[in-house]
């Protein structure tokens, strides 16, 4: 999908917004703590302004291309964040089992028809993959993974 956007202007606005985010809530910090960030915020503002000027004088690109399906992109982002949120609620094992199954089904549909039989055949593979990594991290590497409501 092609989106009409002046990339220099977008980058400049983004730089200014980021600088403002760090500048505005500045607490009463000592000189030693703020001297360097303040200098860098100033440089960021100058670069952003330069990009904004360039956007009107000699813009780089006036469009961006999102390769593939934007809907799939949005759904993939939603799945990743939902996976993260679910780990806190349901624990790593259950949340990952659900998210992994859902993500695989969603992606597989792009390439092949996914029948219930095929999905059932994938369950042991997915269980093995998740199980191997779960055991490797919890038992071998001694990482305490979130247990969510089961803790």
């Amino acid at each position: 999908m092609i989106v009409r956007l002046n990339t220099d202007l977008a980058a400049g606005i983004l730089g200014l917004a980021f600088a403002a985010l760090l500048w505005l809530p500045r607490e009463e910090l000592g000189r030693l703590s703020i001297i360097f960030p303040r200098a860098m915020i100033l440089v960021t503002v100058l670069l952003s302004l330069a990009l904004m000027v360039k956007a009107f004088v000699k813009p780089a690109a006036r469009q961006v291309e999102i390769e593939g399906s934007p809907l799939r992109l949005v759904i993939a982002i939603a799945i990743l964040f939902a996976w993260w949120y679910a780990i806190g609620v349901l624990g790593f094992l259950l949340a990952t089992a659900i998210a992994f199954f859902g993500f695989t089904w969603f992606l597989a549909r792009i390439e092949i028809p996914v029948s219930a039989r095929r999905l059932a055949m994938w369950v042991p593979i997915m269980a093995l993959l998740i199980g191997v990594f779960y055991v490797a991290f919890t038992e071998v590497l001694s990482v305490r993974l979130p247990a969510g409501i089961w803790s």
Binding site: A11, L14, L22, S33, I35, T44
Partner: protein, 513 residues
């Protein structure tokens, strides 16, 4: 010399060689997993060395270190995800090569370069440790500030297209590095009421987020795997090794330059393999006859990155073994093992316990040699897994490992959210021309630059013009000039291109020929 020979015989035993082989293999597989760094590999395997003799324990950890740094190249090449931070620069050309069906070539180049780099690093460590260590000692805050700025001049070559956007990316990275507790003032900054942010944004969290997540999102949007089915491989391992050996040793200047750069950067405490590989990559690009091919699958980029980061493994031991200053984060664990066995860094390490120290150094040389068979066999295995696995299994698997790896770093759930957030933002930043590499570079060097800058200002606080403290001794003046030269030479090609002189020069050359 007697000590060296005695050390050599003490490691040339079946037990010694098996220890090195197992260490390299374990390090390679851990290093190949995104999110699991060389430091983590050493930390995880450290308890296994408790029951070993001091030499065997150090040999095992040296081999793990060597294997892990090299292992990072596998995922960097195959799925555009640096397994360890040291492999950032390997992704720039390694992944495009893999996508062009030249994965074996990239892996063979990475393997040969890593072996040579590892051996050269050991040779440097054995021969040049004392004089190089003396040079490292004179690096004060001002010098470290200039070293950080020298690294930041890389932004010009990493920005791929717009210098302004590259610099903006570098500034965003530097500002991200200031989140958390101030290194000098000690106050917390920019945490927005979230105590979990006091520790700042861990480098590996940003690294995974900015490099892996945009790739996952891109693959999901396009409905494709990491490597195209049509162009998976050209030729076999044997032909790739022959071709790459001919390329690397036929024109060894890139390899030699990268090894020397790797050694020089490695002895500066705190610089680490990521800075080493980025500096070597930048110089390879700058000296190349075809700099525009870098980032599009030029094997010289892989050679520069992988040889320099493996030189760093032994090279960063110079300040560690002589001064007790870890040259890179994994060295801190090696220091812990030395102290655990009652060995104190310094002259005694090379005299009273010279056999042990030399044995440890030589074992790293053997580990470098073992990278060749272990790497080529392991490389086939890892490559097969990546290519044969359908993308709808591969993507959720990569997502799961990145989530696990990020969480395991500090057992922090917030880190996982931060990684996903940075990755999603990184995807959209990439669309408007701000690449991940300058942001990561800013994040790495921001901390070093801030410490150097603020400490220099503190030291010169009584002077009429405090910032002159940044150039008050000959070494800092030399480094400042180097920064200016580096910035100028980075800007020169862009300026020539813009002014049309480069375009005009080309037809003239053609006329002459």
């Amino acid at each position: 010399m007697d000590m060296l020979l005695e050390a050599l015989f003490s490691i040339l035993t079946l037990e010694g060689l098996v220890t090195i082989l197992v260490g390299v293999t374990a390090g390679l597989f851990i290093g190949a997993l995104p999110g699991l760094t060389a430091t983590m590999a050493l930390a995880v395997l450290l308890p296994f060395t408790f029951t070993m003799s001091p030499l065997q324990g150090l040999m095992a950890l040296g081999a793990v270190y060597m294997g892990a740094i090299y292992g990072g190249a596998f995922t960097a090449i195959l799925i555009n995800t640096p397994g360890t931070p040291s492999s950032i620069a390997t992704t720039f050309d390694g992944y495009p090569m893999a996508r062009q069906g030249r994965a074996y070539e990239a892996l063979a180049a990475a393997t040969i370069s890593s072996v040579v780099g590892g051996i050269v690093g050991v040779a440097f460590l054995l021969l040049l440790a004392p004089p190089l260590a003396r040079l490292a000692v004179v690096f004060g805050p001002a010098e470290m500030f200039w070293v950080a700025l020298l690294g930041l001049t890389l932004v010009a070559s990493l920005s791929s297209g717009s210098l302004l956007k590259g610099l903006l990316g570098g500034c965003i990275g530097i500002l991200l590095s200031t989140i958390g507790v101030s290194p000098i003032g000690g106050e917390t900054r920019f945490i927005f009421g979230m105590p979990a942010l006091q520790g700042g944004i861990a480098l590996i969290v940003a690294l995974i987020g900015l490099f892996v997540i945009p790739e996952i999102l891109s693959m999901a949007a396009q409905g494709r795997g990491a490597l195209p089915e049509s162009g998976k491989l050209e030729g076999g391992v044997g032909s790739a090794i022959r071709k790459m050996s001919k390329h690397i040793f036929g024109k060894p200047i890139n390899l030699i330059r990268s090894c020397i750069i790797g050694q020089i950067v490695a002895i500066i405490p705190g610089a680490g393999g990521n800075v080493t590989s980025l500096v070597a990559y930048n110089e390879a690009k700058r000296f190349s006859k075809d700099p525009s091919s870098f980032g599009k699958g030029n094997v010289d980029g892989v050679i520069a990155s992988e040889s320099s980061n493996n030189v760093m493994v032994a090279g960063s031991m110079v300040p560690l073994l002589t001064l007790g200053i870890p040259g890179a984060p994994p060295d801190a664990i090696i220091l812990g093992v030395l102290l655990m066995h009652g060995l104190r860094p310094g002259l005694d390490l090379f005299t009273e316990t010279g056999v042990l120290t030399n044995g440890f150094i030589l074992s790293m040389g053997f580990a470098a040699v073992f990278l060749l068979p272990v790497g080529l066999l392991g490389g086939r295995l890892i490559h097969r897994v990546v290519v044969k696995t359908p993308f709808y299994f591969l993507l959720p698997s990569i997502a799961m490992v990145t989530i696990l790896g990020t969480y395991a770093l500090r057992n922090s759930f917030l880190d996982v959210g931060m990684m996903l957030l940075l990755g999603t933002i990184g995807y959209f930043l990439r669309l408007i021309g701000i690449q991940a590499a300058p942001i990561v570079l800013g994040l790495i060097l921001g901390i070093i630059a801030e410490k150097g800058y603020v400490q220099s200002m503190l030291m010169s606080i009584a002077d009429p013009i405090p910032w002159l403290g940044l150039v008050d001794n000959p070494l800092s003046k030399v480094l400042a000039v180097l920064v200016l030269l580096s910035a100028a030479t980075s800007l020169l090609p862009a300026w020539l291109e813009r002014s049309g002189r480069m375009a005009k020069a080309k037809p003239d050359e053609e006329d002459k020929s």
